[in-house]
């Protein structure tokens, strides 16, 4: 029996702009026909063009037949694009190329016109193929946003559409589910991961009366939440709005050639018209006929759109993109290199970008009572790992990993209890004696022992814990208390990268984080960053980026969902491919596939080299027009020399671009 997905995920189809390759109406086996269709068409047309060229040596008619196919296959889309441009009152290089290609038929240069179209189609489709557009950042956020909610109606759980949930409704969120709407916990407790809000992957304990936010991951307990905001006003909806706003406000990056292109195309078209009208008066030639001004004006128009100019940009961009890909940097289009070149400010996210984004054990503080002998570090880890085995929590994972790496054996465990949002407890057999052990947050110990006992035993403990920079987990074994310290460390060699960026490129370096001041200060100091901002929500980061853009072009480097709006808003957004969230990856313009930030200085160097080569290419292409083609049309140099210079220019431009592959 035919198997089909249940239910269909139409959201992805709409987010892609109704791409044929994921159309729900097409047979799944048939969808692959739509992949890279423009590139396939351009390659097929290039083959037809080659046949047309080969047959031109023995049959002009047969050659023209193949040229007609070329005009049909790539000329029709070019005309459609040109009409669209003209309807928007835009005269650009595309318009000039299409005009030149079509008018070339009138003066019998259909082969040259077809070549222009083929090269144009090939370059355009190759650039399109390297730009990934299938899934949007917003779609990725929608993927983590549940569409169905379990509503409690007269204490009976009913599945409802998220849009039907009103403020004050009670909803149930099971362990492992995403919290669908903002609200206050009215029943139960759990550890909740607030990754999308703060960028910090460390879970927070939440219990009755605490606020929880849409998009948070409910880790271990079942909670009932009284909804405080509808789906249109939830935190996740606000982030989506921020991304949409940032997308609209993103500075538009234009290709170097496009910038010249608008003026160039208008100038050439006007000059052609002027030649057609004025040459008969200046050179005593007729308007019409093979030597007439109209013919020469058309020839000028075609010659002013040479192959060298068409391939100048795409070959340079594609070579640079290919070189970057070999280094593990994925660029969403060559135009990004232009934007990277203009950067003045680099803003780093902290957790997961400057740091490794995972907890590592730092040390243990021991608070023993006088009546008991303190345990060794190995014994403490054995006990902790015994309780944490099978618990899904970053701290539990770090403890069990440490125990297995150090070959520590687990101890017999009885009466295990998990208290969602607080921690775990159980009777552990230590040195043949069954002992009650508690592991979890400080609140967990506080509930067990009571505030009075804690104050009596360790008078300054509460105050000390409040002032700790590191993440803590508390282990209570009888009357002995042990505090596990965990830290997130800087990525290796990050200090060198920062120092290079400041010294060699004179960039202004910033750090933006949702973390608190002490943690931000420590990491910034270690990394060598003087300017840092802390306690930032996604909207705060976005506003800061918008402010910095006023002072100079900004490159933002981040990894979390909370960074997605800023990555979208900045001139260039760079995300981390391994650790990065899908939303951040989709919102960014470049992706470091191996999370290797030591490549940043290399990327900036490559961008500058690309711009240099691009300028050389464009200058060379213009030189060919000015020094060869135009004088030949006016009769100053022989046609064969013009052809050699014209083709030679194209080859040199191509070879020059290949230098970027290194």
């Amino acid at each position: 029996m035919k198997k089909r997905p249940d239910p269909y995920l139409f959201d992805e189809f709409f987010a892609s702009g109704k791409e044929e390759s994921i159309s729900p109406f097409l047979f799944p086996s048939s969808r692959k026909w739509a992949h890279n269709l423009t590139l396939k068409n351009a390659i097929f047309t290039a083959i037809i063009f080659s046949i047309a060229f080969a047959t031109s040596f023995f049959s002009l008619h047969l050659s023209n037949l193949f040229l007609a196919m070329v005009y049909f296959l790539v000329g029709t889309p070019a005309v459609l694009d040109t009409v669209e441009d003209l309807r928007n009152f835009e005269i650009n290089i595309d318009v000039l190329m299409t005009l030149a290609a079509l008018l070339s038929i009138l003066i019998g240069s259909q082969m040259e016109g077809a070549l222009l179209l083929v090269l144009f189609a090939l370059s355009g489709s190759m650039e399109k193929a390297v730009s990934s557009k299938t899934k949007s950042a917003i779609q990725n956020l929608r993927d983590i946003s549940p569409s169905r909610v379990t509503l409690l109606e007269n204490n009976i759980p009913i599945e409802k559409n998220i849009h039907e949930i009103q403020v004050k409704n009670s909803i149930v969120v099971k362990a492992g589910e995403i919290i669908p709407l903002d609200g206050k916990i009215t029943q139960g407790s759990s550890y909740v991961n607030l990754l999308h809000l703060t960028g910090e992957s460390l879970p927070t304990s939440k219990t009755i009366g605490d606020e929880v936010y849409a998009g948070s991951h409910n880790l271990d307990g079942m909670i009932t939440v009284e909804v405080s905001k509808t789906s249109h006003e939830s935190t996740l909806a606000q982030i989506i709005q921020l991304i949409q706003g940032a997308q609209a406000a993103k500075p538009k990056v234009e290709k170097l050639l496009d910038r010249f292109g608008k003026y160039y195309a208008s100038t050439i078209i006007l000059l052609s018209a002027a030649f057609a009208g004025l040459l008969p008066f200046l050179l005593s030639i007729p308007f019409l006929s093979i030597e007439g001004s109209v013919y020469r004006a058309l020839a000028f128009l075609i010659a002013a759109s040479p192959c060298a100019l068409i391939i100048a940009t795409p070959t340079a961009y594609l070579s640079a993109i290919s070189a970057c890909a070999r280094k593990g940097i994925l660029l969403k289009g060559g135009v990004i290199l232009d934007a990277i070149c203009s950067a003045k400010i680099i803003a780093f996210d902290k957790t997961g970008t400057l740091t490794q984004g995972k907890l590592t054990f730092s040390h243990i503080d021991s608070y023993s009572s006088t009546s008991h002998t303190p345990l060794s570090q190995e014994e403490i880890f054995s006990i902790a790992a015994t309780l944490e085995q099978g618990v899904l929590h970053p701290i539990a994972e770090t403890i069990t990993l440490y125990a297995s790496q150090n070959s520590l054996s687990l101890l017999p465990l009885e009466q295990f209890k998990s208290k969602p949002g607080y921690g775990v407890e159980g009777m552990v057999t230590i040195q043949d004696k069954k002992v009650l052990v508690l592991l979890g947050s400080f609140e967990h110990i506080l509930v067990q022992l009571g505030e009075k006992t804690i104050m009596e035993r360790w008078p300054y403990l509460t105050e000390e814990i409040k002032n700790k920079e590191h993440l803590l987990s508390c282990l209570l074994v009888e009357s002995n208390l042990y505090l596990f310290h965990f830290m997130d460390h800087l990525r290796p060699k990050i200090q060198n990268v920062i120092s290079d960026l400041k010294r060699k490129f004179s960039f202004r370096i910033l750090m933006l984080t949702g973390d608190h001041q002490k943690s931000a200060e420590r990491i910034a100091k270690e990394a060598g960053i003087e300017e840092y901002y802390f306690d930032l929500k996604p909207e705060d980061k976005l506003h800061l980026i918008a402010r910095f853009i006023q002072e100079g072009s900004v490159t933002m480097i981040g990894d979390g969902i909370n960074d997605a709006p800023s990555l979208m808003r900045s001139n260039v957004g760079i995300s981390m491919g391994k650790i990065g969230s899908s939303s951040a990856i989709e919102a960014s313009d470049a992706i470091f596939l191996h999370d290797d930030l030591s490549q940043i200085p290399w990327l900036f160097k490559k961008a500058k080299q690309t711009r240099r080569i691009l300028l050389q290419n464009i200058s060379l292409a213009f030189l060919v027009i000015l020094l060869a083609t135009t004088p030949s049309l006016l009769g100053f140099i022989p046609l064969w020399l013009a052809v050699i210079l014209h083709e030679g220019g194209t080859v040199i431009v191509g070879l020059n671009s290949l230098r970027l592959l290194k």
């Binding site: 239910p7 109406f25 097409l26 047979f27 048939s30 269709l37 169905r148 409802k160």
Partner: protein, 252 residues
């Protein structure tokens, strides 16, 4: 039950459903007739049409005593046009249909987002008509309404009667049409080479019969009936052209 909302445009949910289904069915109609989906259908259809047009032209050329070599050149040039015509037509109509389908799904999604209550009414009408009764009816409706993706799928397949995952990519359809036309052209010329007079006629009959039988088999229609109807139509076209040609020959 009348609903004066914009969504129903002064029609009842049932009347609206009828209109929606007609709108959905409109997707399958083409200006130049039906373009059935499926690449094999495209192949058979183009093979049949190509051979009929070639034989009709050959008939006229024969009637007006065109020399063999000139007639061959004429037919060869025409074949090229026919290959392009069938490939392009099939692909273009496929794309036109896909564009309409994508527009309809966009419209339906908009309706779901903006007229949820009316969509619910439509669902109730549909499932009541299927024989669902309370409390099962409400449970089914609530389940369907709980997920926008699922609701869109139901509205497409049940309200608009548009099947999902039921069409070939237009390019694939066009390529199969090209293959169908190419087979016809090749066999037609092969027949003409073997026997200049009987060859084209026998080959054309053979192609029409085979294409009709396979077409009927794919569509699960009665094969013999389809074959006879197609042969009859084929005879009418070719015979009609021949006889009209003879008449005009005498008149002129």
């Amino acid at each position: 039950m009348k609903d004066s909302s914009k969504h129903f445009a002064n029609h009842s949910a049932l009347e609206h459903l009828k209109e929606a289904r007609e709108k959905g069915q409109g997707v399958f109609s083409e200006v130049h007739g039906l373009e059935p989906s499926g690449c094999m259908i495209a192949l058979l259809d183009s093979a049949k049409t190509t051979v009929i047009l070639l034989l009709t032209t050959w008939t006229l050329l024969f009637l007006f005593a065109t020399p063999f070599s000139i007639a061959s050149l004429f037919l060869f040039a025409l074949s090229f046009g026919l290959l392009f015509l069938h490939t392009g037509r099939s692909a273009y109509l496929g794309w036109a249909r896909l564009e309409r389908l994508h527009r309809l799904i966009e419209e339906e999604r908009w309706e779901i987002e903006h007229h949820k209550e009316q969509e619910k009414e439509e669902l109730i009408e549909m499932y009541e008509a299927k024989g669902f009764q309370e409390p099962l009816l409400s449970q089914v409706i609530e389940t369907l309404m709980a997920d926008d993706n699922r609701l869109l799928e139901v509205m497409l397949t049940e309200e608009l009667a548009i099947p999902l995952e039921a069409y070939e990519h237009p390019l694939k359809q066009g390529v199969y049409a090209l293959i169908g036309s190419s087979i016809s052209v090749f066999l037609f010329f092969l027949g003409r080479w073997i026997s200049p007079f009987y060859g084209p006629i026998i080959i054309s009959f053979g192609i029409v019969i085979s294409a009709s039988l396979l077409f009927a088999k794919i569509q699960k229609n009665e094969k013999m009936r389809a074959c006879i109807w197609n042969l009859s139509l084929f005879g009418m076209i070719v015979g009609g052209v021949y006889l009209l040609g003879r008449f005009l020959q005498n008149v002129l």
